[in-house]
């Protein structure tokens, strides 16, 4: 921890004392303390044992329904500022039409949580980053609002906050001058709720087009579905290995 005040750094003394004590203890009884390191009371946080992802079934995504978008806005405290061009959009409905067959497809588009995210590559301040569990996020403490990531993202997934904000959601501190995007409801995952706001809303509407889960767990529903169906990544040619995949596209 940095120490930016006029006090002597007691942490340093404590550290030296603790190190000496630990070394002594290890010399006396090697191995005794080896398991103590994992006994911390706090939550362990994001782990590379997981990779969170989503599977969106475009056949189930209903035309005219915006439950997921509304839920996302509520969950993260996104409000319209009356200027649609610059309003924050974390998840949006997209309608595709095949001009040959006239087949129409509805889907939702949001941050695809790439394994190799271009936004992280271009960020000059390491504000764009990928968590251990694969969630790509913006650390607003470091974001300088340069918007390189917005240019780099092939999915147009990020928004820039243009206005001074008040009454933010506790879930999602956000403010003017920072870029932001879908966090895959990281605050829920960290609290142990394994369901995103959009998925919850979609299920409540009876569509169940969104399936959220752990791509690294072979027994998760999403892994099983991916194993047995023909899902696609959007712009798979970019080889970003997205965490969000689509069915029947």
């Amino acid at each position: 921890m940095s120490n930016m005040n006029d006090q002597p750094n007691k942490d340093r003394r404590l550290f030296i004392g603790a190190t000496l004590a630990a070394t002594g203890a290890m010399t006396v009884a090697p191995g005794v303390f080896l398991h103590a390191a994992n006994a911390a009371g706090e939550s362990q946080g994001a782990s590379s044992k997981n990779r969170w992802g989503m599977l969106i079934d475009t056949n189930k995504c209903a035309e005219g329904c915006s439950a997921c978008v509304d839920a996302c806005n509520t969950e993260n405290g996104l409000h319209s500022m009356g200027r649609p061009e610059t309003d924050a959009v974390w998840i949006r409905k997209v309608k595709l039409r095949d001009m040959q067959t006239q087949r129409e497809n509805n889907l939702v588009m949001m941050c695809q949580h790439c394994e190799f995210p271009p936004c992280v590559d271009v960020c000059p301040t390491t504000a764009s980053f990928k968590r251990e569990d694969g969630i790509v996020m913006v650390d607003r403490h470091r974001c300088i609002g340069c918007r390189y990531c917005m240019m780099a993202c092939p999915y147009k997934a990020r928004s820039f906050v243009h206005e001074v904000l008040t009454d933010q959601s506790v879930n999602q501190p956000r403010g003017k001058g920072c870029v932001e995007s879908c966090t895959l409801c990281a605050h829920r995952i960290d609290e142990g709720v394994m369901q995103t706001a959009c998925q919850e809303a979609c299920e409540k509407e009876g569509h169940a087009a969104i399936l959220f889960g752990d791509l690294k767990d072979p027994d998760s529903e999403i892994s099983k579905t991916l194993k047995t169906t023909n899902s696609v990544q959007i712009r798979a040619d970019l080889e970003l290995n997205t965490g969000v995949r689509y069915l029947n596209l």
Partner: protein, 156 residues
């Protein structure tokens, strides 16, 4: 020479004699706002003097853990600061901690240190923050039923 040295020492002693009780009184004075939760508690999450001096370091340390490593429920949390220290108006609504005369603003205004935390962070406790914390949850939904079991741990 010697006498001037003694008189200087005396002066310092006298000054210290006056200042020390004053500082002690300052240190023990209750600076929490009256209608906040903090007013009912005997101390902050750490000894008050420690928090007064080091809260900025603690918060800065834990913010990286929370944002980048996903470790929630750390000992020092800005949300908890606001939850506990925001005073309530007659209707029971939280008053922004950055308003004139409120908990954060009083000291920060006095020492002329800006409070950029609240460009992004909420300045009032979220209404109904215990139940509605995760948003979009009509009564009796999945979240309300199973949150306590699903989480299985307390927030500090």
């Amino acid at each position: 020479m010697r006498s001037s040295l003694i008189s200087k020492r005396l002066l310092i002693l006298v000054c210290a004699g006056i200042l020390f009780p004053a500082m002690q009184a300052f240190g023990e004075s209750a600076l929490v706002t009256k209608s906040s939760k903090a007013a009912k508690l005997s101390s902050c999450v750490a000894p008050t003097g420690d928090i007064r001096r080091n809260h900025m370091d603690y918060l800065k340390h834990d913010r990286d853990e929370t944002v980048r490593d996903g470790i929630r429920g750390t000992k020092f949390s800005l949300v908890e600061c606001v939850e506990c220290h925001a005073s309530r108006d007659e209707q029971g609504h939280g008053v922004p901690v950055t308003d004139e005369g409120e908990f954060c603003q009083v000291c920060h205004g006095y020492v002329a240190v800006s409070l950029p935390c609240f460009q992004c962070h909420r300045t009032t406790p979220e209404p109904d923050s215990k139940n509605g914390k995760l948003g979009y949850h009509p009564a009796g939904s999945f979240h309300n039923q199973t949150m306590s079991q699903a989480v299985g741990r307390q927030r500090d």
